[in-house]
């Protein structure tokens, strides 16, 4: 318990993203563009988790996310929890929600899809949130979680 407090309270102000599956850490980094920010950032991965086996955690100083922005990670980290930190204290906890539409982020599973052959931003309707099934706006094929590839 003491360890955990240390982990999440090590930043003064900002956001801690917890309960990211360890193998999704780099996808989350790329979706949120964390490789391009200039704030103090700490990544921890392969940490013990009862729920996920191995989890990752991301600590971001002086960063807050808009709802639409953070919901993008729900595709790869549906159980992610956000802790908003102010003055070393957790002042708010948030969960992520799968959006109705996914624009960009995901590659269409269909190699014959126009989006995999011309430079077009992908676009999907989320037809199942529980199983994460995305229907391509262009080729109408379904991309599911198992076949999901992050661009």
């Amino acid at each position: 318990m003491k360890d955990k407090i240390l982990e999440v309270s090590a930043i003064k102000d900002g956001t801690v993203i917890d309960h990211v599956p360890a193998d999704s850490l780099f996808k989350v980094i790329s979706i949120l563009g964390l490789d391009k920010i200039d704030k103090k950032t700490t990544f921890g991965t392969n940490l013990e988790s009862h729920r996920l086996g191995k989890k990752a955690i991301i600590k971001l100083s002086d960063i807050q996310f808009k709802k639409d922005e953070i919901n993008k990670i729900s595709l790869v980290a549906p159980q992610a929890k956000l802790n908003i930190i102010k003055d070393y204290q957790v002042v708010e906890k948030k969960v992520v929600e799968i959006p109705d539409d996914v624009i960009g982020i995901v590659k269409c599973v269909n190699p014959q899809c126009i989006t995999n052959n011309e430079r077009i931003t992908t676009k999907f309707k989320v037809i199942s949130k529980s199983e994460v099934k995305l229907k391509c706006h262009y080729c109408e094929k379904i991309t599911d979680r198992e076949h999901m590839e992050i661009i």
Partner: protein, 302 residues
């Protein structure tokens, strides 16, 4: 429907299907008119499909319109690596409507979003071919005098066949009972069966033709292609099970009709051709009237 692209069969409502079929019936009565006079329609066939292209061009020519375009991409700048975006942008300057066929799925939806000229999808890979579906519906209504409450048999490749998928979606709005006859490897995908469950329509699956075909109002045949099988032995084993022969039609309903999107290979024996229940060649003719109806309504001319 005016100025609205027709990319997917789902782009039209049930009322719009009926409106198109009613218009097509009028064109059948009077197929030569000059309502497309002064209009230029581009037929862009990025992959060849002679039958579909000729059907569209016949429809346009009989209504006095002019056609520009290409019949396969080897004779156009597309082979020089031009993107769909550039081709559509340029051609849009020259015409009132674009009919396009392209091997990539979603290409017609994409095209419809980069131009103000309406697009008719004449086939985008394995995805959609909505004018085929409407001509299938026209043929069904014409031979059965109705679309509601029919028993529709679909035979052959139900897994990859886009025509059967689109026809299923469209006919599901008319309280259709479905019978699927296919080998195990080519069964109707679960997604479509779940959809029928959800809307409460009945469907039955069979591995071969039996006396059940006496219940059919329409038998919709498709090709069973060798390359669809992962196991060539499985193909050899079941290829003959999906060939319709004249003697099999003995106990079918007198009003029953056989449809096929064509071209056929051997799935309908030639001895069926002389049976009055064979309707597939007339079905192709109906395509001209249906395309006349779609083009005229999109251009707002009727």
């Amino acid at each position: 429907m005016k100025n609205k692209s027709l990319v997917s069969i789902d782009d039209y409502s049930k009322d719009e299907y009926i409106k198109i079929l009613d218009l097509a019936a009028k064109f059948e009565q009077n197929p030569v008119q000059d309502i497309l006079k002064g209009k230029v329609i581009a037929t862009l066939f990025f992959e060849p499909s002679t039958r579909t292209r000729l059907s569209f061009e016949s429809a346009i020519n009989r209504l006095g319109g002019k056609v520009i375009g290409f019949s396969d991409s080897s004779s156009s700048s597309v082979t020089k690596g031009e993107t769909i975006y550039d081709t559509i942008k340029i051609v849009s300057n020259y015409c009132d409507l674009i009919v396009m066929r392209h091997p990539l799925e979603g290409s017609a939806r994409y095209a419809s979003e980069i131009t103000n000229v309406p697009i008719i999808n004449a086939g985008d890979g394995a995805n959609q071919h909505p004018t085929q579906t409407l001509l299938d519906m026209y043929s069904i209504r014409k031979t059965q005098d109705k679309l509601e409450d029919l028993n529709l048999f679909m035979v052959g490749d139900l897994k990859y066949g886009r025509t059967v998928h689109s026809l299923l979606m469209a006919m599901s709005k008319f309280n259709t009972t479905f019978n699927f006859i296919s080998p195990d490897e080519l069964k109707m995908p679960d997604g479509y069966k779940l959809y029928l469950d959800k809307i409460g329509l009945k469907y039955y699956e069979h591995k071969d033709f039996t006396d059940i075909i006496s219940r059919a109002d329409i038998i919709y045949m498709t090709r069973v292609q060798k390359e669809r099988f992962s196991d060539p032995i499985e193909y050899e084993r079941c290829k003959n099970a999906y060939i319709l022969k004249n003697y099999m039609l003995e106990n079918t309903k007198p009003t029953m009709k056989i449809l096929h999107p064509l071209p056929r290979v051997n799935e309908i024996n030639v001895d069926v051709d002389i049976n009055p229940k064979a309707y597939y060649f007339t079905q192709a003719l109906n395509g001209v009237f249906v395309r006349q109806a779609i083009i005229s309504s999109i251009l707002g001319l009727i």
